[in-house]
Amino acid sequence: MRVTLEEVERIASLSMLSLDEEKKIMLRKNLDDILGHAQKLNELDTEGVEPTSYILKQQNVVREDIPGKVWERKDMLKNAPEKEDGFFTVPKVVD
């Protein structure tokens, strides 16, 4: 296995997830499979290929600075699990 349980726990804590032991073991396996899959790319011969962060040839996809559609607040809050007075509300977080 490439992924340790400690790494799973660390990633979970960075993502604010609490996992039980069973889930941790499952995710460890999932992540390991994903990494294993990505590992395959190392088998490719990349000699002479310039490194890139993107697979598309496109660049400078931009929009003009013009205001668009105004969305209704009630619609924007529709999916919120908790809301109050036009705000999304969450359990108190402190700095």
């Binding site: 996809v61 931009v62 929009r63 924007m76 908790e82 999304f88």
Partner: protein, 475 residues
């Protein structure tokens, strides 16, 4: 032991675009909560960000104004952090290829010039606003997605005065190039301060702390002075500075450790696959550069050379492009730069401040202003009445001649009338006359004051002085 303070800044500037950086929501301060939001800035699944070209242009302008290099290639990255002010649980920012790199600005503080290195400027989206109340936090995403740039400096500052000078310079530059109003009070300019101390002569840096919640330039100065003192005290007591983030409490005038978000520094940056790279050709960069207006530093120099103004005046006049424009427009009508400068620096500045107004709100036209100066120089009114008329113009918007007419403020040049008054006052006040005779020359001011009072301040001060002196010497 003598210590030296070492300071570096991270300055966040909100750009004054019409819309947000990755969606077409309005970029507006002070709207009702969550009224400038859409599925993109609320990070609904399946939505895609599209970069606002104006934010790129503004970022480049800002970089050029601070003498940065503008690389051709730049890209956007995801910075992972989990906090409710960002609905995506990551912020779109820039990591290894920022929009602007290496720059330098010269600032003046304590009578000397200092070079401040700019490490980089990158663009990113601002986060939403949290209001903590009771057991809940209220989230307003109006600010989420507002275009920000972050200016990171080298640790080149040695005291608070240099930091103030730099922030003033950044603010003035951004205003001139139309990128931001940089109001720290409204949060459109925010500043984090990295600070450490070391014994003078030491080349290694000391352990630094990072100060947050700096809401004004004067708060920055006070926070720096406090924190440097705290570092020195800890070290002198044999203790060690802990590298941490601290919150400036403006009311208490102290810094307090912030509870660090757990492992918050593991941002796990990676290129945002939803966005494509930004490629700026040399032509595009030159074009943006050519379109930049004259910047404050150049203007300052020109004012000294062209108008023969003291550096101090030139510095104040060029702090805001609106003040500079008012000055230039006035000089174009009436070529008395120093007289104009004096009024702007003293009377106009005071009235703006008293009325809580900004330079862009100057309620007097250059034409009316210079008409007033002409009334003074032509001797129609005396200079202290001039100040009074100026204030009236500021408040009512009336023309100077009209105010002089309505309030009957014309200078009294009638020497016979003034002489009669002087003689009467001298006759009525034997005691100060005796003082004067006894060698107390200052007693003269009493008589001048009495004459001015009797003429409601309108007498020609020169005539009054001459006549008072002549009559006293005769008496």
């Amino acid at each position: 032991m003598k210590y030296e303070t070492v300071i570096g800044l991270e300055v966040h500037v909100e750009m004054a675009t019409e819309t947000k950086i990755f969606c077409a929501c309005k970029n507006e301060f002070g709207s009702q909560p969550n009224t400038n939001v859409c599925p993109v800035c609320l990070s609904m699944p399946g939505t895609l960000p599209v970069l606002n070209e104006q934010a790129v242009e503004y970022g480049v302008r800002a970089g050029l104004s601070l003498n940065c290099e503008i690389p051709n290639y730049s890209k956007l990255d995801r910075k992972g952090y989990f906090y409710p002010d960002l609905a995506k649980a990551y912020q779109i920012s820039q990591y290894d290829f920022p929009l602007c790199s290496r720059g330098e600005v010269e600032v003046e503080a304590d009578g000397a010039k200092h070079k401040i290195g700019i490490t980089r400027i990158h663009i990113e989206e601002d986060a939403g606003k949290l209001i903590h109340q009771g057991t809940e936090s209220f989230v307003d995403y109006n600010r989420g997605g507002v275009p920000l740039m972050e200016i990171v400096t080298e640790p080149d500052f040695r005291n608070a005065a240099q930091v103030k000078a730099f922030l003033d310079t950044v603010r003035a530059n951004m205003e001139y190039i139309g990128v931001s109003d940089c109001k720290m009070e409204e949060g459109s300019m925010r500043c984090d301060i990295n600070i450490s101390v070391r014994p003078v002569g030491e080349t290694e840096y000391g352990t630094r702390t990072e100060l947050k919640n700096i809401n004004s330039i004067s708060a920055a100065q006070r926070a720096i002075e406090y924190e440097a003192r705290r570092h020195i005290e800890v070290i002198e007591d044999g203790g060690k500075i802990v590298q941490e983030t601290r919150r400036w409490d403006d009311v208490k005038g102290k810094t307090f450790p912030m509870r660090d978000k757990e492992e918050a520094h593991d941002y796990r940056y990676f290129p945002d696959p939803d966005l494509v790279p930004v490629y700026l050709t040399d032509e595009r960069i030159s074009k943006i550069k050519a379109a930049l207006p004259e910047l404050p530093a150049a203007k300052r120099e020109r004012y000294v050379n062209e108008f023969n103004l003291p550096e101090y005046d030139a510095g104040i006049l060029t702090m805001s492009k609106y003040t500079a424009k008012f000055f230039e427009d006035s000089v174009a009508i009436y070529n008395e730069p120093k007289a104009i400068s004096n009024y702007i620096m003293v009377d106009l500045a005071r009235l703006l401040k008293e009325n809580n107004m900004e330079a862009k709100d100057i309620p007097i036209s250059p034409k009316d202003f210079t008409d007033l100066l002409k009334l003074v120089s032509d001797g129609i009114i005396n200079s202290s009445v001039g100040k009074q008329v100026f204030e009236e113009m500021f408040k009512t918007g009336k023309k100077p001649a009209q105010i002089v007419e309505e309030k009957d403020l014309k200078q009294n040049d009638n020497a016979d009338e003034i002489l009669a008054l002087v003689q009467k006052i001298i006759a009525d006040n034997p005691k100060p006359v005796a003082d004067y005779k006894g060698g107390n020359k200052k007693a003269m001011t009493f008589f001048v004051g009495q004459v001015m009072k009797a003429t409601k301040g309108k007498a020609n001060p020169k005539t009054v002085n001459e006549l008072v002196k002549a009559e006293l010497d005769k008496a």
